[in-house]
């Protein structure tokens, strides 16, 4: 039996969802009372805003909410009516599209996005700045952009260096430059909001993040070594992503601890997410926000469980920065400049996926390459080859993470079923 809606069973997932709603309502109230409010892209160093107590919403999180609430068809229709193409950059353009909805307060998710006064993005592709600019204009927000530089040094195992030895990991001038970018951003935010930045508060935020991410590390380790796995990505993606955007708060630490505790208890009691687990699948790419139930389609029939997504694993490997107190700004720079590189720059992404696939005892990889996103053009050839050379079969397909219009669940299910039957059962590691 295939369910239309994903079955999420963790308390932590439900708690994160409830907290997000409550937090969002409070944010709406803060905005209504005249506070500055920022809308930021996922790769922006939001720790600065956290340290300054400037409320913010993350673009990708909001797009995921809109996708999950099945709002994107409406929003992309509005884009078309306004003369824009409706087949571009859906992940990043959802909020701009929503801003065209005159009815947003009534029909938007959770009462719609409050109007930001600040919007911040990195120029990591050619479209991002333009989309944020258009969005800012709709809301009367002030746009701030950060540049993106290209890594010259490429030590293969970035995950062995990023916690402590970031000076060795990155080109020194890139790090210096990123620190300078942070200083400029701080100055802008201070002037815009009238609040003074406090470096000690940033250090506290960074410590809280280290604590939170260390729970993700434990959780990732636990899932990696437990078969059948106690949870699947349906539980972890939302629980981690929602808390990740609250990083730097005590709530996020507590939530990560609770998530770990809950999964540990399941593992200890021998409770499996997919009791008949035979194949462990890795999901590469952004979350399929408009159809989470898809991930569960292969459990009953094949015992195939999606146990891995980047959301938890990035938390485990990419965020922790030790010895923060020596120079919190440099530690933060060493976190945010890596995000784009680790995920989208070969060989860093391919090598990491391979390390994770082996570590998690993965039997097959389902890799969603998004429609119309140049930033997610990340060397899928190298990723596939690296994994397949190690004996792990990979299925690549095109789909959109938030726009359901072109998604056909039956066709996609058939595609993955064929992959499981032919490449995993018939010839992969266990074949």
């Amino acid at each position: 039996m295939r369910s239309e809606r994903a079955v999420k069973k963790l308390r932590a997932t439900a708690e994160a969802a409830a907290y997000q709603k409550q937090w969002f309502r409070e944010t709406q109230q803060r905005v209504e009372s005249g506070e500055d409010f920022a809308y930021v892209n996922a790769d922006v160093p939001m720790e600065i805003l956290r340290a300054m107590d400037i409320p913010f919403v993350v673009n990708q999180w909001w797009a995921a909410i809109c996708g999950a609430k099945q709002m994107t068809s409406k929003y992309f229709g509005l884009l078309r009516e306004a003369g824009y193409r409706d087949d571009l950059c859906s992940y990043c353009a959802t909020a701009f599209a929503e801003s065209l909805d005159t009815d947003d307060r009534l029909s938007g998710p959770w009462g719609g996005l409050p109007s930001p006064t600040i919007s911040i993005t990195r120029l990591a592709c050619d479209c991002q700045g333009k989309i944020f600019e258009l969005f800012s204009k709709r809301h009367g927000a002030q746009l701030y952009t950060l540049e993106n530089t290209v890594p010259r040094k490429l030590p293969l195992k970035w995950w062995e260096l990023d916690w402590d030895n970031w000076e060795e990991l990155y080109d020194t001038d890139r790090l210096d430059f990123a620190v300078e970018e942070l200083r400029c951003l701080i100055r802008f935010l201070e002037e815009k909001t009238g609040r003074m930045f406090d470096i000690n508060r940033l250090a506290e935020v960074m410590h809280l993040i280290n604590e939170q991410e260390s729970y993700y590390l434990k959780t990732r380790e636990l899932i990696a070594k437990t078969s059948p796995a106690p949870v699947t990505v349906v539980d972890t993606i939302n629980a981690v992503m929602q808390a990740q955007w609250q990083r730097g708060t005590q709530w996020a630490v507590d939530h990560a601890a609770g998530l770990y505790g809950e999964i540990k208890a399941l593992a200890e009691s021998g409770t499996a997410a997919v009791p008949n687990e035979r194949y462990r699948l890795m999901w590469l790419g952004r979350g399929l926000w408009h159809d989470f139930a898809f991930y569960q389609n292969f459990e009953e029939k094949y015992g195939a469980a999606f146990v891995w997504s980047m959301y938890l694993a990035m938390g485990a490997d990419a965020y922790i920065r030790n010895n923060v107190d020596a120079d919190p700004l440099r530690a933060l720079a060493a976190r945010y400049i890596g995000m784009e590189d680790f995920l989208h720059c070969p060989p860093w992404n391919a090598q990491w996926f391979l390390k994770e696939a082996v570590h998690n005892n993965i039997d097959g990889v389902v890799y969603m390459v998004p429609e119309n996103c140049m930033q997610a053009v990340e060397g899928s050839y190298f990723v596939k080859k690296t994994l397949e050379d190690a004996g792990i079969p990979v299925l690549i397909f095109r789909a959109d993470p938030v726009d359901a219009r072109k998604w056909n669940r039956d066709t996609m299910t058939a595609l993955v079923e064929e992959f499981i039957e032919d490449r995993i059962m018939g010839g992969g590691k266990n074949g």
């Binding site: 306004a82 003369g83 824009y84 193409r85 571009l88 950059c89 120029l123 592709c125 050619d126 479209c127 700045g129 333009k130 989309i131 600019e133 258009l134 746009l143 952009t145 540049e147 530089t149 290209v150 010259r152 490429l154 001038d173 430059f177 300078e180 970018e181 400029c184 720059c345 070969p346 060989p347 390459v369 429609e371 119309n372 996103c373 140049m374 930033q375 053009v377 060397g379 899928s380 050839y381 190298f382 095109r398």
Partner: protein, 390 residues
């Protein structure tokens, strides 16, 4: 309109056309003369510096006939067709000889991606034959800290060129490289004047040949031929037809302009790198050479890829006014997406100014593969039509 008899009767034009059409010969000529070549992937790679190193700058461009076997193997579907062809050439899939070295610059995002892929192939397949690579990490947001970063990026490029060429590059060398490029620039300004005047003497197709041939021949030779041609062209018959400003993707060949001009228009200016944009900005003469060069590239006309929407609207307003265009043709190939975000705001501005426009996006490359394009263009120019061909 294509290329007229008056142009074909000009010795200077025919020499330019020969270089434009036989692009491969540049590398062959350089090899014969014992000179090293540096491929420029992206317009942000400063040719002045390559010239200063005594090397030959070679613009990487699409081979129209390439089968794209290498691109199909390595690249995702969402690379624009011309970008696929650049990659294919550099990854050894084309028929053209490869330059000795390749420098890439982030003048558009797709170049970064191609650079990453080439770098990874070079790392994992050492016998792949891809020339040694260097990335010129220029940033285009207009702030002082980015300018400082760019100066450092060019210092690194200078070091790389010294290593490749095996010689020290002096300030004097840099100034000489700048002078060569500047001389070509001033010659091209004469052509621009002959396009923008009340009675244009040079068609868009002819202009693409005149400008683009400069990428495939020595600048001093190019400048001399362009000057000779400009003198002759004063006596060429004036062109009639709707004055068009072309906005959008770079046109590495004349195919799209041929269609626009065959539909009864004259392309009098454009904002892409194979047209007016490539020479519009001069490097400051009295600044330190490396800084002057960095600023020239950083502050060149707002590009479709790096400009924000409001900047692009203002740039178009100014561009249209400077050439007294009566219409604007927006044209981008499939997966050349960034400009699509500018278009509605640009159109709104043009509507306000009473200037008609037509938009072709997601177009196939080569342009011949677009059924219905000729008709859509002639319908547009025949009427006051404001169609949006998709």
């Amino acid at each position: 309109m294509v290329i007229r008899t008056c142009a074909r009767s000009s010795g200077a034009f025919m020499k330019l056309l020969y270089c434009y059409q036989n692009r491969d010969e540049q590398i062959k000529r350089a090899r014969k003369a014992g000179r090293l070549t540096v491929g420029r992937l992206g317009f942000g790679v400063p040719e002045e510096m390559i010239l200063a190193a005594g090397m030959v700058p070679v613009m990487i461009c699409a081979e129209r006939t390439s089968e794209l076997s290498r691109a199909d193997k390595y690249l995702e579907y969402s690379f624009a067709p011309k970008a696929k062809a650049w990659f294919d050439v550099l990854a050894g899939g084309g028929k053209s000889p490869l330059p000795d070295f390749v420098a890439a610059a982030d003048s558009e995002d797709v170049v970064n991606r191609i650079y990453y892929y080439l770098r990874e192939i070079s790392r994992t397949e050492p016998d792949c034959g891809i020339p040694p690579l260097h990335f010129v990490d220029l940033l285009f947001s207009r702030h002082m800290m980015y300018q400082k970063w760019n100066y450092a990026a060019l210092e690194r490029f200078l070091g790389q060129l010294e290593e490749w060429s095996g010689r020290r590059i002096s300030e004097e060398d840099l100034r000489r490289g700048m002078e060569l490029v500047e001389s070509r620039r001033t010659a091209l300004l004469e052509i621009s004047a002959l396009r923008r005047c009340a009675e244009p003497k040079i068609s868009g197709c002819e202009a693409l040949v005149i400008i683009g041939s400069g990428f495939f021949m020595p600048p001093e030779e190019h400048a001399a031929l362009v000057r000779e041609l400009a003198d002759e062209a004063h006596g060429w018959p004036s062109l009639e037809g709707r004055r068009v400003f072309f906005c959008g993707g770079a046109q590495e060949d004349t195919a799209v302009y041929e269609k626009i001009e065959a539909a009864g228009a004259v392309v009098v200016s454009e904002d892409h790198n194979w047209g007016d944009r490539c020479y519009e900005r001069a490097a400051a003469k009295n600044a330190e050479p490396l800084k002057a060069i960095a600023d020239k590239y950083m502050l060149a006309g707002v590009s479709a890829q790096k400009g924000l929407v409001a900047e692009r609207v203002e740039a178009l307003r100014a561009g249209v006014a400077a050439c007294s265009a009566q219409s604007v043709v927006f044209y981008t190939d499939e997966y050349e997406e960034a400009a699509s975000w500018d278009y509605p705001s640009q159109k709104e501005m043009l509507d306000g100014e009473g200037i008609g426009s037509v938009c072709f996006c997601k177009m196939k490359y080569p342009a011949e593969n677009n059924a219905g394009l000729d008709k859509a263009l002639s319908d547009f120019f025949r009427g006051e039509g404001r169609i949006n061909a998709k």
